[in-house]
Symmetry: C2
Subunit: 244 residues, 2 copies
Amino acid sequence: MAAAQTETLHSRILAELTRKIVDGSWPPGHQLPKETELATQYGVSRMTMNKVLTQLAQEGYVVRRKRTGTVVAQPRAQSAVLAINNIQDEVAALSRRYHWRLLSAETRPRSAQDQRQLDLDAEEGTCDTLFLQGLHYSNDDPFCLESRAINLGVVPDAAGMDFDCDVPGSWLLQTMPWTNARHHVRAVNVAGRDATLLQLPVGAACLEILRKTQIEGEWVTYVRLLYPGEAHQLVAEFEGRPGG
Amino acid sequence: MAAAQTETLHSRILAELTRKIVDGSWPPGHQLPKETELATQYGVSRMTMNKVLTQLAQEGYVVRRKRTGTVVAQPRAQSAVLAINNIQDEVAALSRRYHWRLLSAETRPRSAQDQRQLDLDAEEGTCDTLFLQGLHYSNDDPFCLESRAINLGVVPDAAGMDFDCDVPGSWLLQTMPWTNARHHVRAVNVAGRDATLLQLPVGAACLEILRKTQIEGEWVTYVRLLYPGEAHQLVAEFEGRPGG
DNA sequence: TAGTGGTCTAGACCACTCC
DNA sequence: GAGTGGTCTAGACCACTAG
């Protein structure tokens, strides 16, 4: 975070304790003084110190246990978080022109190919489903091929939408309240129609992102995003700490 | 999270308010009652309600402003987080046998190839550097090719280590206190020596993860991890909300 | 200038866990 | 049984900001 504001009491203390852990003054396993002691040392109330220690714990720097007190956590797995943003923002971030072209839209029963390509869950096959395919462009170059299934049982309005104009992802985001999603990311060799659409030679490496979106237990949409591998990468900053 | 314990006051209230937002009872833009009112409604002190609202805010569900009060946030970018774990844990999670084989280890000036392959920062070239390469195996199949540079100025002990036995990543993790890292993930077509080592045909799609690790502003290590694309994928759960 | 969230305190009770 | 963190309260002052 920005170290600009060392304003509040607990943020100042938090920064101080974090520093001791990060620079090794308090190595992993080190036992911290108890809440009341720390509160006295820093001249604050126990609630304030509790706020600091609670935050330190939920950031993974320390482990707190009743009776035994607070100790500096062991750095564990090299786990990190990668941000997956929406495509329009990605293109905009590169200061390039963005546009979307709808290739196909049809309401039909799912095929075996849909099932395979979008990694659809088998038991969720009964609803009316809208299948879409389209291309995201960056400066008139294909940037991402999107294949999507939308559950019309959950989002009936999608049936009447003109996805020539509205980008399905953005529209769904505006339409639906809050959602949960599961992502899979892997590398694939592009082939066939996908290669043609992305203007890539057969066999070129692409980054494939599969996303299943749910709301309140019902599936909303499955998406497959295919990015030319050389042209795209996910970037992540990561603060080293356990869990995540 | 697990909905098991609806024990504490604020966790119960937090769950209740979150539900109202997620199921659409409180749509984006909806104005919440003020802290004191909510506290009265739920029969708790203002501090307790503040704790709830603060957490709701830092989870991105609401936006709080002085004078104007608290409103439900607009769902923004489809951003998500992807976990990158360490390789040993990944293999273990698949209930497979793991082992590591060191291919090469040498202390030498960086070459143009190192620079390119590991995406080394130009200005960080003066220190003594240890270069390693090795393979992670899952059930005796190549699972990941690791190429690494270690800054001996920061980790002098690495020079005397026997990385035939110790996996460099794990050892560094145990040795160093807390670190920060930057990741890049992309898809590449494997070629040359990399293909041979991973026992893949030339051109096979691979997931490439580049990681730069820092501690207190100094670079510690650069790693390039190359996974056979078909055999590996990153998975992420994601709670829909702005920022992240 | 008035109303909101942001913060802090001093004290209290409880649950859990190790001895 | 004793000590720790986990939680909650009632009241207070401050900073920011819209009107």
